[in-house]
Amino acid sequence: MNAIERYSADFARVKSTLPGSSIDWLQEARRDALSRFAERGIPTTRDEDWKYTDVTSLEKRALFALLPTARADAAALAASVERLALAAEYHLLVFVDGRYDRDLSRLVGLPAGATISSMAEVLERDPGLMEAHFVSELWPHGAFGWLNTALASDGAVVHLDADTVVEQPVHLLFLATGNASAVHPANLIVAGNSARVTVIEHYAGDDGATYFTNALTHVVVGENANVTHYKLQQESAKAFHVAGIHARQAARGRFASHSISLGAHLARIDISTHLAAASHCELNGLYLADGRRHVDHHTRIDHAEPDATSSEVYRGILDGGARGVFNGKVVVHQDAQRTDAKQENHNLLLSKNAEIDTKPELEIYADDVKCTHGATIGQLDDEMLFYLRSRGLDEAAARSLLIYAFAHDIIDRMALQPLRKRLERQLVERLPLGSTELSFSELLEEAPPHQTMNESRPT
């Protein structure tokens, strides 16, 4: 059975268990999505967008959607949630193997005008909230996007009416427990005009489990609205992670995306945004990979109207035989005069066998624009290492400090303290500290309140 047949069979098996299965427009959209997926098929390295990311190994595995009857060990789940939650005051929505778990979730004092819930619940109570956004020709869709739309078993809906502000961040925690399973979470974030919200999309899985996460998130940013989106990928080391995050920003809307990729055997993350007049987006990313891991970020920013600004900084650290891919496309359309777009991608290769393919792409059809982009690939700087060692730091500590500083540039761009602390700890755990005598806890405590880093030296 090839992948198309397999996923078609999967759809037939689970379709009656999918949320809103009695809603005609939704089932129609699912069938349509499945046929679109079948037309495209699983991408191969002959597709320009997948040139460096080979998903044949995913295709070979039989990774299927789970039926809702499958239940994981409750105590183990509670412990995972405890470990992965970021702050008691954050709203927390937990999804286990692709389905919302109300008992593990908590929503505290939502303001009027805010709906924060699971897709399944929204489809029961108020399906109209989703219809306009769930399937739209406006969203970019690849093969995996269509597969997600066909098979999505649940996901989060964060819907804010105009002028609604959700003060506490909304933490969406997706836990994978099932071996040989596939989950297709579909999330929708809608911020009405002048609304404001921060969402953390967080993926984690049981150690050693082989599974496939195929997530799709749509973000609608209204006029003057402000959406900050964090994505934290810390899947099991054997997992496949494919995700799309696609935003559309109305005039003067602000969207910030931070994508942190730490886990998975293979991760492919597509992030895009479409900018209307005078809107602003910021895309930041940090990817760490070692061993035989593969991590690929594709980003696309469309400046469709005048006076919008975009700023993008991605940094990657690759060790062992890991491979990274960064492809950042910025398209400035004909009407998008006075666009200001900046893009940077910096990569640190810690071993001879590590590899990065980085490709900034700039397409400009307007004449009055300011666009810059740059990419660097380098190793740890010998002069910096010597300088630190000449001050008494041993080699492992000097290397650790430089790696930490390289990555921290991205963490520094994040506002959420609990998330910053979590990432700093995870970063420190991965450093080649060895038997160093230096304590990095000091570094964590004494990080200055804010450092501006304009540009790293080309290495």
Binding site: D381, D382, E383, M384, F386, Y387, L388, R389, S390, R391, G392, L393, D394, E395, A397, A398, L401, L402, Y404, A405, F406, H408, D409, E437, L438, E442, L443, E446, A447, P448, P449, Q451, M453, N454, S456, R457
Partner: protein, 264 residues
């Protein structure tokens, strides 16, 4: 404290040091002068342990041990400090963290307890007055966006915090205006002590008006060709390095012997 004998070193196959001798005792300040390309900075880098330089001959004894066997960090912990000619910018690493990490590495080596945050800040603030650096500097990334003068003052601050036994200042005066030079010189002078030796590597005599050396050595083509007291620097200033060129080898060698004799 430091005995350099017949030191030979090269970089990328190019011989730079060709049999250099130097004796430095505790409490002394030595100036090493010489034209560009004579090997001054190579000497400083080799003593600090820069691995790009290959030592091809000779010995360096520091406190009775073989300095050349030690890794750069071991030299630092044993009290050797190099103030760099071109201090590197390290984005993302704050000055305060580097100072603390460096000081605690050195203290640990000496068997002293690590300083707690309060004691550390008290010490650093005290030393900052010495080089007239404002506190805001502490939280900036190491040397990033610093002016030339600020970088040099930062080197002296590190030195003042680490309290080395042997400090090597590599062209610390280059690129400094007169006010910054005075600040740096004051900082260095306040660190002079009977237990500490200082090697000033410099191209110009100017620095020596502010930090008065006990000995002056002239380095040329990787060897010390003339040694003397402070007056040698003044003579060089007046007559230029070309005064030493032109093959008065015998005179130069006898000067070396005289210099060596004087130190012994």
């Amino acid at each position: 404290m430091l005995k350099v004998k017949n030191l030979q070193a090269r970089i990328e196959g190019k011989e730079i040091l060709r049999g250099l001798d130097l004796d430095v005792n505790a409490g002394e300040v030595h100036a090493i002068m010489g034209p560009n390309g004579s090997g001054k900075s190579t000497l400083a880098q080799v003593l600090a342990g820069r691995e790009n330089y290959e030592v091809t001959g000779g010995t360096v004894e520091y406190d009775g041990g073989n300095l050349l066997e030690l890794a750069p960090e071991e030299r630092a912990r044993a009290g050797l400090f190099l103030a760099f000619q071109y201090p590197v910018e390290i984005p993302g690493v704050s000055n305060v963290y580097l100072l603390k990490a460096a000081l605690n590495a050195v203290r640990k080596h000496r068997g002293e307890p690590e300083l707690d945050a309060m004691d550390f800040l008290t010490l650093v603030k005290d030393r900052m007055k010495l080089v007239e650096i404002s506190q805001e500097f502490l939280y900036r990334a190491v040397n990033e966006g610093f002016s030339g003068g600020e970088k040099k003052r930062n080197e002296i601050l590190q030195m003042a915090v680490l309290e080395p036994r042997l400090a090597i200042l590599d062209e610390t005066d280059s690129g400094l205006d007169i006010d910054a030079l005075k600040i740096v010189a004051n900082g260095v002078n306040s660190l002079r002590s009977p237990e500490r030796a200082i090697i000033l590597v410099t191209h110009y005599q100017r620095l020596l008006n502010y930090i008065v050396p006990d000995f002056v050595h002239v380095l040329q083509d990787g060897r010390i060709v003339k040694s003397g007291g402070r007056e040698l620097a003044l003579e060089l200033e007046e007559r230029g390095y070309s005064w030493l060129e032109g093959g008065d080898q015998a005179a130069a060698q006898s000067a070396v012997r005289a210099g060596a004799g004087k130190q012994a």
